[in-house]
């Protein structure tokens, strides 16, 4: 009875690769979330590094292109205007984890997969620096719109980068295109 039900679940998953993929992504992300909750969050160093280095590099980039900007730890401010604190939720770590979950679950050869995995993490980190620059500048030019900008900033700076990388991987990975819109089916 038990063997039969396991076989039936296996057959079901084989006949629906999209569902199998979604389950794999879910499991990988749950494992990573638990690692974060129980080890990385209490330790705090990874979050702190991403926040402080993001604020520092964003300030340097803004200085380079003509805005006099300073950073103090997690805080960044264009001189003379309100500062922005980069909290843990805004350091890009969640999206880096989601990116890893997607790439690991999708399959493909190991070497190019590692390239897209780590290259993607680096690109998301860079995109987040541009986003932090945006946070500082929005305080200068549209301070009343800061909350709206903060809410939708990931749609502008982070999601396009990540979805672009996923698209690249689904094309280049030599796998069946299970996420093709015309073939997507969960039944």
């Amino acid at each position: 009875m038990h063997v039969r039900s396991v076989t039936s679940i296996r057959n079901r998953l084989n006949s629906s690769p999209a569902l199998y993929f979604l389950i794999k992504v879910g499991v990988i992300c749950i494992i990573m979330q638990l690692i974060y909750d129980f080890f990385l969050l209490p330790d705090g160093r990874l979050d702190l590094f991403l926040c402080e280095s993001g604020a520092f590099l964003a300030a340097q980039c803004l200085n380079l292109i003509g805005w006099s900007t300073d950073s103090w730890g997690r805080i960044i401010a264009v001189n003379g205007y309100k500062g922005v604190e980069i909290v843990n939720g805004c350091n890009g770590l969640t999206l880096m984890g989601i990116h890893c979950g997607f790439i690991l679950a999708y399959g493909g050869k190991t070497k190019p997969k590692l390239w897209i995995l780590f290259g993607g993490i680096f690109l998301i980190y860079l995109a987040n620096i541009i986003r932090i620059m945006g946070f500082a500048l929005i305080n200068v030019y549209l301070p009343n719109r800061w909350t709206t900008f903060h809410k939708f900033s990931a749609f502008i700076f982070l999601y396009p980068v990540m979805l672009g990388l996923w698209y690249l991987w689904t094309i280049k990975s030599d796998q069946d295109d299970i996420l093709s819109s015309s073939r997507f089916s969960l039944v």
Partner: protein, 164 residues
């Protein structure tokens, strides 16, 4: 390139635009006020009535509910279903006519509409694993939104390439 295909390529972009506008209008005029009213008038007061006086912090902004029970260092929040994270992929799926994905998305958000308030009530009642599940849900919610968006956008690219 087949000249007849060129205008048909733009048809998918027009459909997406139309679908996004229609869904935005529907959401902003009808659905969003209803959603805010349901949450501020029913769900949040119900959660507050279950919490211990002067101990738990329950705050609501237009998209999510945050709970910080007494003795916890950080808050647990959950995004209320049928918000932007539903309507953006939904409107794209309508444009690319992906029926399976539409059904999946609707069922998933309906499921969350029932389960998330239950988990929130349990968490307020000091059931600790409910907090962990709320936290895990945030990650899964986010990734399913991005995968849904990805499938929808891929559908647009496929339609564009085919010149359908």
């Amino acid at each position: 390139m087949d000249n007849k295909k060129r205008p048909r390529r733009y048809l998918i972009l027009f459909k997406v635009f139309l679908s996004l506008v229609a869904c935005s209008v529907f959401y902003l005029i009808l659905f969003r006020p209803l959603r805010v009213e349901l949450n501020t008038g029913f769900l949040v007061p119900a959660l507050i009535s279950f919490s211990e006086p002067d101990s738990d912090i329950i705050t609501f902004d237009q998209g999510s509910i945050m709970i910080k029970p007494k003795g916890y260092n950080h808050s647990y929040d959950f995004i209320i279903p049928f918000g932007v994270f539903f309507w953006v992929p939904f409107s794209i799926f309508i444009a690319v006519r992906n029926k399976d994905a539409i059904i999946f998305l609707c069922l998933y958000h309906l499921f969350l509409s029932i389960v998330l308030p239950l988990l929130a009530f349990m968490f307020i009642r000091q059931v600790q694993w409910a907090g962990i599940l709320l936290s895990l849900n945030n990650t899964l919610f986010h990734i399913l939104f991005l995968i849904a968006l990805f499938i929808g956008l891929k559908g647009i690219v496929e339609d564009w390439t085919r010149g359908r």
